[in-house]
């Protein structure tokens, strides 16, 4: 509230912010481990039919990769418009590549 804060105070504010950020990272990590466990458990138990398992595994992988990009690699933070554009551009080209390979393999 007063702007006579010393650098020390500013620093402790920043440290608190970093700490809260780290808490979010730990939650992301826990969720990623849970997603991995679910994926392995589905395959190990073999309870679900094959045609459903593969799309389900891909969805689990995409969610986990989302956590990796948005939290671990900070794509959710401000000033990350350009990285997001570059990566989605890469993903778009990757999907075209996969579609192309799919067409020549199975058409």
């Amino acid at each position: 509230m007063e702007n006579t804060n010393s650098n020390q105070n500013l620093n402790s504010f920043q440290k608190q912010k970093n700490k809260e950020e780290m808490k979010k990272q730990l939650i992301s990590f826990t969720l990623m481990i849970v997603l991995t466990l679910i994926a392995f458990a589905i395959v190990a138990m073999g309870a679900i039919e094959k045609i459903y398992v593969i799309p389900l595994l891909i969805v689990l992988a995409v969610i986990q990769v989302g956590f990796q990009f948005y939290y671990f690699m900070h794509m959710k933070d401000k000033d990350h418009g350009m990285p997001a554009t570059i990566i989605y551009g890469g993903v778009w080209a990757a999907l075209l590549t996969l579609a192309g390979l799919g067409v020549v393999s199975w058409w």
Partner: protein, 207 residues
């Protein structure tokens, strides 16, 4: 501010990795590189999926793959991703010693992952006679998984070089971007591994 000077809490910018033009360029440059890597790995994955049933009478993925080993490898690599997040957390708090410590742990976990992968390949080659030349499936498998492993080797070497080269410099605006973009690269290796364990091992077990 002269960026050769070691940072102290009073002069530390909030994002030391992007405080200089060079840092900003390194940051964007690495993201461009990762965008390209996405396409490169997509073509390897596409090739693998197209060829994964072309076993030419040799061993199939269902016969060979063990989920236990792959799970341990996954946990090692995912944990190393978290430890590099810790390293960057300490970098932002300007704690060079703890950053070095967590980067060291990251490197050790990476080496653990690599030893398991080497063990895995040796196991396939000696116990199943499954090599790069066995079948189209063999070529596609070793190209994709080996290329990922090659990225891990490169990452560990990069990390060791960074740690040795900057051991006595302390954290400054010159080397903060270097550590930061290493962590981005390392996370990307884990992104690729998520698809490797899903597409190669889990989908291979399902059939």
């Amino acid at each position: 501010m002269n960026h050769d000077h070691t940072l102290n809490p009073e002069t530390m910018p909030q994002e030391p990795e992007k405080a200089t033009l060079e840092g900003k360029n390194k940051f964007l440059g690495l993201w461009f590189f990762l965008g390209g890597e996405t396409v490169l790995f997509a073509s390897l994955f596409g090739t693998f999926v197209a060829l994964r049933n072309s076993t030419a009478g040799g061993p199939t993925s269902q016969e060979m793959f063990g989920l236990g080993l792959v799970f341990i490898m996954t946990v090692l690599l995912l944990t190393s991703s978290l430890t590099s997040v810790y390293a960057i957390y300490h970098m932002k708090n300007n704690n060079f010693k703890l950053m070095q410590l967590w980067l060291g742990i990251t490197g050790l976990l990476g080496l653990g992952f690599l030893s398991l992968e080497i063990y895995e390949f040796a196991h396939y080659i000696t116990d199943y006679g499954f090599t790069f030349r066995s079948s189209a499936f063999g070529s596609a498998f070793y190209t994709l998984v080996g290329f990922h492993g090659g990225h891990v080797i490169f990452g560990v070497s990069w990390l060791i070089t960074l740690l040795i080269r900057n051991a006595k410099r302390g954290l400054n605006l010159y080397n903060a971007p270097k550590f930061y973009i290493f962590s981005l690269y390392w996370h990307f290796i884990d992104v690729v591994w998520v698809f490797v364990f899903t597409v190669v091992y889990l989908m291979g077990k399902v059939g």
